[in-house]
Amino acid sequence: MDLSFSPRELAFQAEVRRFLQEALPPEIAERVAHGKGPTRDDMERWHAILNEKGWLSGNWPTTHGGCGWGPIEQHIFEEESALANAPRIVPFGLKMLAPVLMKFGTTAQQEEYLPRILDGRDWWCQGYSEPGAGSDLASLKTRAARDGDHYIVNGQKTWTTLGQYANRIFCLVRTATEGKPQAGISFLLIDLDTPGIEMRPIRLIEGGYEVNEVFFTDVRVPVANLVGEENEGWTIAKFLLGHERTNIAGTGFSVQALEKVKALGRTIQRGGKPLIQNPLFAARLAEVEAELDAMKITNLRMLSKAAQGGTLGAEPSMLKIKGTVIRQALNDLARRALGPAAAPFPSEELDNLAITPAEHAHAAADYFNNRKISIYGGSNEIQRNILAKEMLGR
């Protein structure tokens, strides 16, 4: 038993910290810390900085020009990035499509798309969910009908994150209707400039925009844009759903949120004393801190297993559930700590009024927006179903 990082890992951690301190523009970090960013420009700048450093492809194997980091290095990079308030890397190209292309794509597809992902020429988004196919993804209806060298795509996708900035989308589409619903699904790459595509933003609960609906009307997609075999897209979808392993618990975000709540507790005065001395507040804070400290170990246990090449079973789903519950509890605590000061709708003018410390002006908005984290990427209910299947064999 040894919970500490190896000397090599510690050196890497120090290197990451140094890099973040030097390379992360402070104004970007501040926007992220204050819940006002990252903006589109922030994301693109950070993408370029990381690419220049060669760290954009941390999770890519060296055979494809990546850094070939193992799970622990990836975890260190992600946690340190979160703690430094770096923008989260937009995952759709780098962490989702790229591994798919490496495993299922043709050499031509790899050569065409992988460099464009790295240098930022392509901003990919994801076309998975549909209005009638959320948790039940296999029931998707967007149709791709073969017409010579093209597919004709008709249908609707939704919850397409950051689609408003993207120029390409990878989609699950239905290429056959016989057999089990999973059987007729294919994985297709689509240029968003193709005629017949309309992207409509969806406004979210707190007032912001980050997801979209995408409508396809007779959209012609070259057959060459099919990844893998026709009707074998479900295999890719499952590969992807099970692929992300290192940032599921979101410990970096939670650690950062915890520190913010602690700082809030020391700043806010109630009855002439810092709020952190209030027993009910302190109790809730201490409880969630213990939960988080425990989950960090659960996370490391999983990473250690993955680093040793062990197969992961239940762990990612468990971490998804506990990780989201903890982050949401921290968002809840921050919002409540502020009292009435959390009530104003965030706006530019509000900043001048300094109703809260600047970094907490979005506390309520963050709380409401982060209700999403227990819903997307397989809701916590779906995770429980997965776990039940594994534990109870059904």
Binding site: I202, R203, I205, G271, P340, F345, A364, I375
Partner: protein
């Protein structure tokens, strides 16, 4: 024992429900709730004509209600409709003043209590009254940008006193609340004011408890709507070839919510029945504590069971959920009222 509403209150309730449903359909509601003055002055006038404010005032002051159950009747309907009108300020003001004719006619009041370091507890305020002039800052005053008259709690010597100031003579920075409706920062700088009461502590405590009861009732009305939305969604939304209400895990969670909502209803009834008696402070604290917790749970669980659609601006649930959560930030949150109850226990 009788848990039926009186005929008068049932009529008031029905009238309000009909009017509000039409006047504040969700798109109009959102249009006015997030743009200055963050409510609808025309509809406010219509509500005044309907006699809404008379229902908040007792007969001996010229009104037609003012009891706990009147408050509940009015605010439950406001909650159902997610009405952004700053009626809460009107109710609190009505508990503080002698002459309520203007108020009942529709003159808008806001009551400036909370400060940045004293959000819920008047003992901690620092706004000061010296020689009939006020200095200090009130923060997140509900209804402030819509108000014509402000009532202001201020420290004067050892007492907490109450003052009246025309809104036009004060600097007010208004904004929308995240759940819609008006609030604002109010700045006093040697501002002349008229004394309402030199020792207003007791009166304010009672007025705030009446306000807390109103907020509980508002939450109750909103929760009933959310409950209906949820049941409807569970019955109609299909996944894996079945309505999601066929899944037992969701069934049981929906049932647990329904039970909690009944608990909320009961504690509101209990607090309303205690209004005007010695038991009211404890009952109001119990209600605000319990409803604060339950409303948050209802909001979170209803969103979770709806999935993505539940956090879109377009689907009304999101706005109800915001209101249900943010009600806990007004007039003392669930923990603050729990501390009142704890102090009560420790004193026994």
């Amino acid at each position: 024992m009788n848990f039926e509403q009186s005929d008068d209150r049932r009529m008031l309730s029905e009238t309000l429900r009909r009017y509000l449903a039409e006047a504040y359909d969700i798109s109009h509601r959102n249009a006015v709730a997030y743009d200055a003055p963050y409510h609808d002055p025309e509809k406010w006038a219509e509500l005044a004509e309907l006699g809404l404010f008379y229902a908040l005032v007792s007969e001996d002051k010229g009104g037609m209600g003012g009891h706990g159950f009147d408050i509940v009747t009015v605010f439950e309907e406001l909650g159902r409709a997610l009405c952004p009108e700053p009626v809460l300020g009107q109710l609190i003001a009505a508990s503080l003043m002698a002459d309520l004719d203007d108020l009942m006619a529709g003159t808008r009041y806001a009551v400036a209590l909370s400060e940045r370091d004293a959000p819920y507890d008047l003992s901690d305020i620092s706004t000061e009254a010296v020689n009939d002039r006020l200095t200090g800052r009130k923060s997140v005053v509900y209804g402030a940008p819509a108000a014509e008259i402000l009532l202001v709690a201020a420290r004067q010597g050892d007492e907490i006193s109450l003052w009246e100031v025309p809104a036009s003579e004060v600097e007010i920075s208004g904004y929308a609340m995240i759940d819609g409706g008006p609030a604002g920062e109010v700045f006093f700088d040697d501002t002349p004011a008229k004394l309402v009461a030199a020792d207003a502590r007791k009166m304010l405590a009672n007025a705030m408890d009446r306000g807390a009861l109103a907020l509980c009732a508002e939450a109750l009305g909103a929760m009933d709507v959310v409950q209906d939305m949820l049941v409807d969604y569970l019955k109609t939304r299909k996944q894996f070839g079945q309505p999601i209400g066929a899944f037992q895990a969701l069934q049981h969670r929906a049932i647990d919510l329904a039970i909690e909502i009944e608990q909320a209803r009961s504690i509101v009834i209990l607090a309303a029945s205690a209004e005007g008696t010695e038991a009211f402070p404890k009952r109001a604290a119990q209600a605000k504590h319990l409803v604060g917790k339950i409303a948050r749970l209802v909001a979170e669980e209803a969103i979770q069971m709806h999935g993505g659609i539940g956090i879109t601006w377009e689907y009304p649930l999101s706005h109800y959920a915001k209101r249900l959560v943010m009600i806990d930030h007004q007039l003392g949150d669930s923990d603050w009222h729990l501390e009142r109850l704890m102090a009560g226990l420790a004193a026994t």
